[in-house]
């Protein structure tokens, strides 16, 4: 049976009559305008499907760390009484809630600038895209600076990765989140550079959308961490 297609790009070019699988293994390999990559059998571009599959796996990744934190929450007091660790830290004696609230606010705002950058590139407004993407990267950098400051303060107070279950679970969880933010900053800056080189227009908007999905995911992970770790009452 012959496929009825409107896009010449869907026509087979390799002599394999009617076979829509292109050289890259994509079905119906037609490049669409609007930066949505290839049309596939699922109706979703492979890149977008891949980033969502990755984010789905990241849910499990961060879920495991958050669960571990909650698992050991408040147990250092007993470990200290049993002589297993030298001192039990009360997280709420260490946390500076106003400061962390400010950095959380900054990360939330970075999500807004990210979607504004996406909207700008979809309109073809590259100048505004660059402004918003740099603003997003700067917000991310401010958040990371805040985290470095916080870690330094905790270290001064004596909290270490090895000083108990609170120290290890807290530093690993928030540190990995910070690592994700750092990767995101480099990703955003690479988009900025591509735009400067004229390699990023409305037809490549999907590249910005994919980076944005990653960035928003990092933001929602922080929404959970901020509430569970910093705001939920702690009673040892």
């Amino acid at each position: 049976m012959t496929a009825v297609t409107a896009d010449p790009a869907l026509a087979p070019g390799d002599g394999d009559a009617g076979n829509p699988v292109d050289d890259h293994g994509d079905h119906g390999g037609s490049e669409h305008g609007g930066g949505h990559g290839h049309t596939t059998n699922t109706g979703v571009s492979n890149t977008k499907l891949a980033i969502w599959a990755f984010l789905s796996s990241e849910c499990l990744f961060f879920g495991a760390f958050i669960a571990s934190y909650l698992l050991y929450r408040g147990r250092d007091t007993n470990f200290a009484k049993a002589g297993l660790i030298s001192k039990a830290f009360n997280p709420h004696d260490l946390f500076n809630i106003p400061f962390t609230s400010a950095t959380s606010f900054i990360l939330l705002m970075s999500s807004l600038t990210m979607v504004l950058a996406l909207a700008a590139i979809q309109r073809g407004d590259e100048r505004r895209f660059r402004i918003w993407i740099v603003a997003t990267a700067l917000f991310g950098l401010t958040f990371i600076s805040g985290q470095v400051f916080e870690f330094t303060e905790f270290y001064r107070e004596g909290l270490r990765l090895s000083s108990g279950t609170f120290g290890s679970t807290f530093f690993v969880m928030t540190g990995l989140h910070g690592a994700h933010v750092t990767v995101g900053i480099f990703w955003l800056l690479s988009l900025y550079q591509r735009s400067l080189q004229g390699k990023l227009g409305p037809e490549k908007a999907e590249a910005v959308e994919v980076a944005g999905l990653y960035w928003h995911f990092v933001d929602i992970v922080w929404i959970v961490i901020f509430t569970v770790v910093y705001l939920v009452p702690y009673h040892s």
């Binding site: 789905s56 979809q122 929602i220």
Partner: protein, 130 residues
């Protein structure tokens, strides 16, 4: 959006391609919200965060369990707002929504299993309790 009814077998090998011009429209060819709507969502997120922070100072003045549920509820609302509006799951293809929900439900299951394991271990090995 491309549906299975828009697809026809292309050849004897059973490969499938979109059959109509409408079917060629990518599923992600949705209309994203306008910048104004993004700003409104951001304002709501900031307001909820402010309420959350204010609630955290109520510890000791109200029932802790109720406070925890309220804080988690507020975080849940923020989570849904970002995923639905900023990540466009509200308007994007259903397959993407399913992918994300799969991972999220998996994370919740993992969390439940870890908590159950802890409960079992505490009883079996007499670990220090809180």
């Amino acid at each position: 959006m491309t549906t299975t009814t828009d697809l026809v077998p292309a050849d004897d090998h059973g490969a499938i391609v979109p059959a109509t011009p409408a079917a060629l429209e990518p599923a992600s060819g949705h209309s994203h919200p306008a910048p104004r709507q993004y700003v409104m969502v951001a304002v709501v997120l900031v307001v909820i965060t402010g309420i959350e922070v204010a609630m955290s100072y109520l510890d000791g003045h109200m029932n802790s369990t109720l406070l925890i549920f309220m804080l988690l509820g507020a975080a849940g609302v923020k989570f849904v707002l970002v995923v639905a509006w900023f990540m466009h799951l509200k308007t994007d293809s259903k397959i993407l929504r399913r992918f994300f929900i799969l991972g999220f439900v998996g994370a919740l299951l993992l969390f439940t299993i870890i908590m159950l394991v802890l409960h079992g271990m505490q009883n079996s090995y007499n670990l220090p309790s809180r």
